[in-house]
């Protein structure tokens, strides 16, 4: 463990921890959009900036706390004038791109900023933070990536087509900080990235489970038996309970009859 100072409070953090995690674990509120504990930080959204002065350093600097490793003797300010000013600029730029995003507007309101009123057009909420592509890559699918450049940049499948390597797990949609990735579910169908997936019906009771492609990938890459993946948790539990029940019945019969094996 190392000791550092955050907003005038002594804080202990594990060796190698990032500043953002160290600050949050100690109860400090630092906003962020592109950070997710499941993947390596990327410093894309820039909202998690803090003012940092290292041990023995004369001047402080404003850095994204998700990328900075916490070191002993650091002095950190999470809400200094400089930090708030940088954060407001970042939000202004993000709002230029996505003025109607409810998440961005809420963050702006927290920062004491005025946001444009009136009709704002599409609720285009992608801030190109790349969290979806990082999560997809971490699962080994690499189905989506950033396409185009500058104002044309966007996230999608290769060549802007529905991604053929997508298994429909929808992890990207669940982690998207602005809720931009469209996920449509009805009954046993799931639509995402222009693909249409069938949610496998439970082999016993028929309730929709995970997409067929996701189950097939797990069966081939992890070696899980397809038969286990083809049942919902409730029916898997029932099947196990029936087996356990037989074992219990057998052992109590044995006890009554004094059977020796």
């Amino acid at each position: 463990m190392i000791e550092l100072n955050i907003d005038g409070v002594k804080v202990m953090a594990p060796e190698g921890a990032r500043l953002l995690d160290a600050a949050r674990d100690a109860g400090f509120r630092v906003p962020s959009l592109c950070h997710h504990p499941a993947v390596e930080p990327e410093g894309a959204c820039r909202l998690c900036v803090v003012e940092l002065r290292g041990a023995g350093e004369e001047h402080s600097r404003v850095v994204p706390s998700c990328l900075e490793v916490a070191r002993a003797g650091m002095t950190v300010a999470t809400a200094s004038e400089d930090v708030l000013s940088v954060r407001r600029t970042v939000l202004e730029l993000l709002l230029q791109r996505s003025p109607a995003s409810p998440v961005l507007r809420a963050l702006a309101a927290q920062a004491g900023m005025e946001t444009a009123a009136g009709p704002l057009g599409d609720a285009h909420g992608c801030i190109l933070c790349g969290l979806c592509t990082r999560v997809c890559a971490a699962a080994g699918f690499h189905a989506i990536s950033t396409l185009g450049r500058g104002a044309e940049a966007r996230v999608g499948g290769p060549g802007g087509q529905p991604p053929q390597d997508c298994v429909g797990c929808a992890a990207c949609a669940h982690v998207c900080p602005t809720g931009h990735i469209a996920l449509e579910e009805s009954g046993s169908r799931r639509g995402i990235w222009g693909r249409d997936f069938e949610l496998l019906p439970c082999a016993e009771c028929g309730v929709p489970t995970i997409p067929r492609e996701q189950a097939e990938r797990a069966a081939s890459s992890l070696g899980f038996p397809s038969a286990d993946l083809a049942r919902c948790p409730a029916c898997n539990r029932k099947a196990t309970a029936v087996t356990f029940g037989r074992i219990v019945a057998l052992s109590s019969t044995d006890a009554r009859e004094g059977v020796k094996r």
Binding site: V135, A139, A215, T240
Partner: protein, 143 residues
């Protein structure tokens, strides 16, 4: 290390354990709820199965040595606690891909829809299982 010992022959099927589990894993009420308790019972992570032969089987996570749920998670959200031996879910790392719920061959990892879709599993209450505490017959015992 203590273990949760399950003895189905002692189970009377009272389901106190399910109730204890639901309250031990209570969740915040969704915004706009009319009740004013602040918390409501969560989804119990164990179930009593009543088999046709009138025996009752407590069904809960077996905390497998080579657990499929752990192998299924690409995000490291499921890991064994060194202090309790339980496989715990770090919901901050979870991306809700739900592969773990399909991977568990015993059906002990589930989606809790009421909690905004969080995955839940038995965490042995971090070393003090409420189910064992409230089991009147000793079918569930922590020792």
């Amino acid at each position: 290390m203590s273990r949760l010992q399950v003895t189905p022959n002692r189970c009377s099927g009272c389901r106190s354990c399910e109730m204890a589990c639901a309250f031990a894993h209570a969740v915040s009420e969704p915004a706009g709820a009319t009740a004013s308790l602040g918390l409501q019972p969560g989804r119990p992570r164990l179930r009593i199965w009543a088999s046709p032969g009138a025996a009752f089987i407590p069904m809960l996570c077996l905390q497998c040595d080579d657990a499929r749920c752990v192998r299924a998670c690409a995000y490291g959200a499921l890991a064994r606690s060194e202090t309790t031996g339980a496989i715990e879910l770090d919901s901050r790392r979870c991306t809700r891909c739900l592969l773990c719920t399909a991977a568990c061959p015993f059906g002990n990892v589930e989606l809790e829809a009421a909690m905004g879709g969080l995955v839940v599993k038995c965490d042995l209450c971090h070393g003090a299982p409420a189910c064992a505490k409230f089991c009147p017959t000793g079918a569930l015992a922590w020792s």
